[in-house]
Amino acid sequence: MEHIPILKVGDFLLVTIQVDMHDRLVMQLQDDVCQRVVKDKAKGVLIDISSLEVVDSFIGRMLGTIATMTKTLGAETVVVGMRPAVAITIVELGLKLENVHTALNVDRGIALLQSLVYQKDAMQ
């Protein structure tokens, strides 16, 4: 069974999707991310989809689901590097992707995560 690697960087988890996604792989990823958020006490998850060229409604929806799940577990999710074609597809499919933060690249994604997490910490 193939896995998508999840790397721990400080307080955040870094997920780089470098293969074409199929349904079972996404389900696996969702499971793995949730496990790791709890295990590593992560405060944020960064999903880099810059190599992802094709999305369907299921994978699009799963991005939103993963974000909602991590939020429930207390971690923010930022999706970075979305390609124009993928963005257009998701909009055309009418997916809302609530709870998903977005950024142009990993650099800005980390900056965004930091600001999100610090803001939350400051509020508590």
Partner: protein
């Protein structure tokens, strides 16, 4: 008659001719007259054959119909090439009319002029997203000063553009909403919720500068 296989070569010749004429600006009347001018010489040749009256009439009639058909064919082809030219120009105009300008580091401006339909929105969207990738901009201003009316459909198109840009990690600001348009929008129940809107491009630019961390100062 003209569409049969025997006339294949003639047809091809006439198609090339019509295309060239349409390109250089010969009128359709002139093109038709060129074909019809064959009549005189063809009839002269038939007359020389000295056929019997009845046969002669039939031959002349057939030749007449044939040349008429050729003439009509030329006009049709001429018109078709004209229409192709118009279509291509429309396409070019469509692409020309949707520039995406990088106005500052990290700030894009997209001045929209003319009505937004779905075909145009698609091009605008693709241009904008590509520019976002190329310039790594974090904020994009969509200026709709030149859009004459904003109805539910146009608003929906705009919102689509905004959501796609958001997915790429870029915030959109909509500017240039005239008082008249604001009123109609509210009457129609169209709202740009979750999107920052500004009355003028200057306001939007000021907001964008703030968002990316620049301040405009007067020289002392």
């Amino acid at each position: 008659m003209v569409l049969s296989a025997v006339w294949q070569d003639t047809r091809e010749f006439l198609i090339t001719l019509s295309k060239n004429w349409a390109a250089v600006g010969v009128s359709s009347g002139q093109a038709a007259r060129f074909v019809f001018s064959l009549k005189q010489s063809v009839f002269e040749i038939i007359a020389k054959e000295q056929l019997k009256a009845e046969l002669h009439n039939n031959v002349v009639w057939d030749a007449n119909i044939l040349i008429d058909e050729l003439g009509l064919f030329v006009i049709e082809m001429y018109q078709k090439s004209r229409e192709d030219i118009i279509k291509r120009q429309q396409q070019e105009l469509l692409e020309l009319s949707t520039p995406v300008v990088k106005i500052w580091n990290g700030i894009l401006i997209l001045p929209l002029i003319g009505t937004l339909d779905s075909a145009r929105t698609q091009i605008v969207l693709e241009n904008l997203l590509q520019s976002i990738v190329d310039t790594e901009s974090s904020i994009a201003i969509i200026d709709i000063t030149g859009v004459p009316t904003v109805d539910t459909l146009v608003a929906q198109h705009l919102l689509k553009t905004v959501s796609a840009a958001r997915l790429m990690g870029t915030q959109c600001v909509i500017s240039g909403i005239r008082p008249q348009i604001a009123q109609t929008m509210v009457h129609l129940g169209v709202t740009f919720s979750d999107v920052v809107t500004k009355a003028t491009l200057a306001d939007a630019l000021f907001y964008a500068f703030n968002a990316v961390g620049f301040a405009v100062q007067k020289k002392s």
